[in-house]
Structures are given as C-alpha cells and as structure tokens.
C-alpha cells in the first residue's frame, strides 16, 4: 500500500489557553488534489502553517511521506514546495534569481544548469521571457505563478498553496487552476490548497476537509461536489450554496 502524502493524527492547534482546533485527524493520499476549506477565522491558514512545519502543534502528530514534521525541518531540504498567499517573492531579486535560490542552496548543479532548470520552471508556469523582471514589474497573477515556479524548483512531490486565486481576475484564476491541474496530472504533484473560491474547489479539488470555528475542527470531508449535493449539515450547505447565516 502506498504511503499517504500526509497523515495528521490528533492534531490540536492553539496558543496559550486558546484552542483553535482539537483532535483533528485526516490523511491525504499521494497524487491527490486536496482542499482545506471553511469560513473566515476557522483556522485554514493556521492548519496549513502547521502542515508545513512553520508552527509547532499544541498536541498531535503530522507525517509527510512517512516522516514526522520536526524531523523534516531539522534534517534535509523539505520535499515540498509552498506558495504563500502574497507570493512572497523576494523583491530585490529577479524572477530567475527567485527560482534559482533554492537550487543554489540545495543542489550542487553548476550555474548554467541552475539557470536552465529555473528558466524551465518559469516556462512551465507561462512566464518564459520574464526571467529578468523584478516582482514589482509584474501583475498579481504572474507573481503567484512565479511563486509556484519557485515552489517547484526542487522537484517537490507535494505542493502547498495558500489562497492561490485570491485577488485574481477570473481569467487569471482559471489559468492558475489549469496550471495546478497540469502539475497534478502531468507531473504527479500532490496538491494541498487552502481556498474558499468555490469555482476552484469544484474544478480541481478531488477531496476536501471543511473546518468550522465553533466545532473547533472538521465538520465535513470527502469529494466537494458530493458534499455540495448531499450534505445535510447547515454550515456545509450555507458554504457551498453561498447562503447567509440565519439571524
């Protein structure tokens, strides 16, 4: 049986006496496109930050491809890439330098090979010809694509994305969704994304978990299209049908 890409066991997230979510359990199979969704403030981004090891859990364990998160952070280069909501490109570096940075840090490739790989990553996200542009010189959608190119630099098998289509026009958003599908279907990259853009969820999400602030954890899981059509949970129905809360 293939090792799941991510296993989350009894995860509790909180700070001090405050508990955001408790005893959360789920698995993400390798090769999946997995969506973490829920209303504002339910802890989607916090969960993502725990999955990528930037915040320690209050309790519980997270395993990525069979290895515990603290071990991954302490040992070698992470086998996953991360795209932050703003793109988080380094403003003083060109796109090529941004994408080359992890290759220079973690590989022993000679500079011409690093350049070739970085150019190919930018080409993959349709940014060929923009290698020498600074982040300030490109649009928001291009920044997000460049951030994906940087996240892909080290050939990760797992890609985390925080609100990838937030703030993008519909065309750019759909192009980004297509790109994520290509990465998943052609390159076999497991994709974990946090979003509440319904169109993206239905287009690329094979599986999802829905978080809820009041329940302090997961209130629904499964295929997002099935949840939309069959769930009887009022919170889930409100979310997928864009209905306001009852007063």
């Amino acid at each position: 049986m293939e090792t799941p890409a991510i296993v989350v066991e009894d995860l509790t997230i909180g700070w001090g006496d405050f508990i955001l979510m408790r005893n959360v359990n789920f698995e993400i199979p390798a090769g999946d496109t997995f969506v973490i969704l829920g209303g504002s403030g339910c802890g989607k981004s916090s969960l993502l930050y725990h999955l990528i090891g930037l915040q320690p859990p209050k309790a519980g364990r997270i395993h990525i491809e069979g290895v515990g998160i603290p071990d991954i952070m302490q040992a070698h280069r992470p086998g996953y890439g991360v795209m932050f909501q703003s793109g988080a490109l380094f403003g003083s570096m060109t796109l090529l330098e941004n994408v080359s940075l992890p290759l220079r840090k973690w590989t022993d490739l000679p500079l011409p090979a690093i350049r070739a790989v970085a150019e190919a990553r930018l080409e993959l996200v349709a940014l060929g010809g923009f290698e020498n542009h600074l982040p300030a010189e490109i649009s928001g959608g291009m920044k997000k694509r460049a951030a994906i190119a940087r996240a892909l630099a080290l050939e990760p098998s797992l890609l985390f994305l925080d609100e990838p289509s937030a703030g993008l026009d519909p065309v750019s958003a759909v192009e980004l969704d297509d790109l994520l599908l290509t990465l998943n279907e052609s390159l076999g990259v497991t994709i974990v994304l946090v979003t509440h853009e319904l169109e993206s969820i239905f287009k690329i999400g094979k599986r999802c978990v829905m978080l809820d602030k009041e329940a302090q954890g997961i209130i629904a899981r499964g295929d997002p299209r099935e949840l939309r059509d069959t769930s009887t949970d009022p919170t889930v129905r409100r979310f997928f049908n864009r209905e306001p809360r009852a007063n």
């Binding site: 060109t94 590989t107 490739l109 070739a116 790989v117 190919a120 993959l124 349709a126 020498n132 050939e155």
Partner: protein, 376 residues
C-alpha cells in the same frame, strides 16, 4: 532513492561516431550535476546531428528534463539537431510539459553601471533628494496652515503615544551616552589643564561643551537612530502596503495625519532630552573632576554656574528644536517617497539616517557661525 546505486546510476553511452547516445538510469535532480556533466561531454559539438535514445531511462524528473532541453536548444541554436527516441509515455509527457512554447521577448538582464555612471547618478540623486526635502517642507507648511485653521483635522491621538516612544523610551540611552560624553570631555580636559594648574576650568569645558554643542548634537544623533529610522521604516512600510493611498482616498492628508503628530512629538521631546543630556554630561564631568583632579563638588558646581550662561543652554535648546524638525522632515519625506517592497523600505531607512546625520552636522556648523556672528 540513492543516486550512487550503481544499478541506477546515470550513464550515457555513445556509438563509435558519437552521434548516437543512449541514456540510462534514474535521471533525477539528486544526480543532476553528473547528468549535466555527461550531457555536456557528449554533446560537445553543437554543429552535429544527435540522436538520443531514452529507452533505458528509468525515471526522468523535471529538472533533468529542463537540462536535456536546454542543451538541445544550444545545439539547435548552433545549427545542429537533437532527436529523442524511445521515451516511455511518462518521460515523453514530461518532455512535452517542459518543451518551451512561444515566449515574449526576454528583457535583458540588468546591466551593472560603470563607476562614472554611478557617480553621476548619485550626484543627480543627491540634488534631487535635497529638492524633495525642501518640497516636502513646503507641503508641510501648507498642511500646518490647514491644521492651524482646522485643529480637529490633526491626529492628536497619536501625539502622546509618539512622545512616549520618542521621548520617555529614549531616556536611558540618552542619559548613558551623554554621561559618557561628559566623562570623555572631562578626561580630555583634565590631562591638559592640570599641566597649567587650571584644573577648575574642566567645569567650563564640560559645561559649555555639553550645553552648546555635544548635548544637542549627541541627543539628536540618538533620536535620529531611534525615531528617525523608525519613522522612515514605518511610513515606508505604509507606503508600499498602500496604506498611504488608502488615507488619501479617505480624504486624509498624509502629511497632516502622519507627519504633523511626529513633528510635534519630536519638537516637544528633543529639547527635554537635550536638557537631560546636558545635566548628566555635567554629572559625568563632575565625577572625573572629583576623582582625577581632587576638585570638590562645590567648587565644580560653582565654577559651572559661573561659566554656563543662559544663552549657552538656550542656544543649545534652539538647536535641538531645529534638529527635531530636520529629523522628522527628512525621515518622513524618505518614508513617504518609498517605492518597491521590503528592499525599498530598507533603502529609504538607510537614506533617511545618512541624510539626517549629514544635515545635523551641517546645521550645527551653521549655528556655530551664526552664534559667533551674533556674539552669543
């Protein structure tokens, strides 16, 4: 995956003529350096026509596909050709994904400017910045006029908090630095004055030196490092995160809303810090006079009282007000002129601190000349 496993290592075998290449093994980023070296060695003549057999490639990842396609493009660019054959469906799909499509004309890489170009640019920028500061002072005067006519439009709520940050929070470092400056001055004077039996005049040097020059200047330098840098960074960050634009759309004048409270806070606090600095500097001198020159505290304080006049202290305080205006004007102007992202904020902060330090010394020189001309 173990790239050193001989059964999986990358090999490239060429036929006798060198035009038929057979790649085998696990071709992944972990062994990317070796793959790049082997490829370069076998595709050394870019004018030839090569056939690359990929039948025995166990795995190919994106990074190595990119390298393969890069060297193919070099060969094709030089007039040769590279033809791939025998690729498995996975390898073929990967090569397809990474094959370059039509692209926009690339922007040339940034050129490093020559020394004369840099010198010329820096000179023009220096004059432009001086002009910007004066233009900003003009804007500030206009905003001040509006603020006087409509005091409710000023963000008074921030003034107290800014006074605390710029004034009260800076007391420990101002006290420490000025105390040490007083000690240094006293040591300097003690050695020389003792030779002429003029020990008591240590009080004159320390008192007048602190009140007229070093108290205001050292305090202003500390305020520049603490508050000037903070103002530039804070306003710069607000500029790059569009908060300044948001203020404008809300009908708020950024100068009146952000700069005026800072200016008021520094105008009120820098003279107080300067006075405090003058006093602790004299205390530092007193300790050295008592310890090194065996002067009594009464003798030192009597001499200090006679030597330091009202204009010595007053002149220093007038300077401190002007220094406060210069620190706020330059730091806020630099902050509001920030462009770009994090690098722009860093650049503005550095520029603000350097310009303020230069302005403080230049203003101090002007004051020295002016006071001398007025006989103060």
């Amino acid at each position: 995956m173990n790239p050193t496993d001989p059964s999986r290592a990358i090999t490239i075998v060429a036929d006798a003529g060198g035009a038929e290449l057979r790649v085998s093994g696990r071709v992944t980023l972990a062994a990317g350096r070796e793959f790049w070296r082997l490829l370069q060695a076998h595709l050394e003549d870019p004018h030839r026509d090569y056939r690359v057999d990929l039948t025995e490639v166990e795995t190919l990842d994106g990074a190595c596909a990119a390298m393969l396609l890069e060297l193919k493009s070099e060969v094709v660019g030089a007039g040769g050709s590279v033809e791939f054959s025998g690729a498995s469906p996975d390898v073929g799909r990967l090569l397809g994904v990474y094959t370059p499509r039509d692209e926009v004309a690339p922007k040339p890489p940034p050129q490093r400017a020559g020394i004369f170009h840099q010198l010329g640019t820096a000179t023009v920028q220096a004059f432009t910045r001086v002009g910007d500061v004066f233009a900003f002072i003009g804007d500030f005067c206009v905003s001040l006029g509006h603020a006087i006519r409509s005091p409710r439009s000023v963000n008074w709520a921030d003034v107290g908090h800014l006074m605390e940050r710029a004034g009260a929070d800076g007391v420990p470092i101002v006290v420490l630095i000025n105390f040490l400056v007083g000690v240094i001055l006293a040591y300097l004077a003690a050695g020389e004055f003792a030779k002429y039996g003029a020990d008591i005049f240590v009080a004159n040097l320390v008192g007048i030196g602190m009140a007229r020059e070093l108290g205001p200047l050292m305090t202003a330098i500390i305020v520049c490092g603490r508050s000037g840098a903070a103002f530039a960074a804070e306003l710069g960050t607000m500029k790059v995160s569009e908060e300044i634009d948001a203020l404008r759309t809300l009908g708020q004048d950024p100068v009146r809303f952000l700069v005026l409270p800072r200016m008021l806070a520094l105008i009120l606090m820098v003279p107080i810090l300067t006075l405090l600095g003058d006093i602790v500097g004299c205390v530092g001198g007193l300790l050295i006079a008592m310890g090194e020159l065996d002067l009594t505290s009464t003798a030192y304080l009597n001499q200090l009282q006679g030597a330091v006049g009202l204009w010595d202290v007053g002149g220093g305080l007038i300077k401190s007000v002007v220094f406060a205006i210069a620190i706020t004007a330059i730091s806020c102007q630099r902050g509001l002129a920030t462009r770009g992202g994090a690098a722009g904020v860093g650049s503005s902060t550095t520029s603000a601190v350097v310009t303020i330090l230069f302005a403080l010394v230049a203003l101090d020189t002007v004051f020295s000349i002016l006071f001398a001309a007025l006989g103060i």
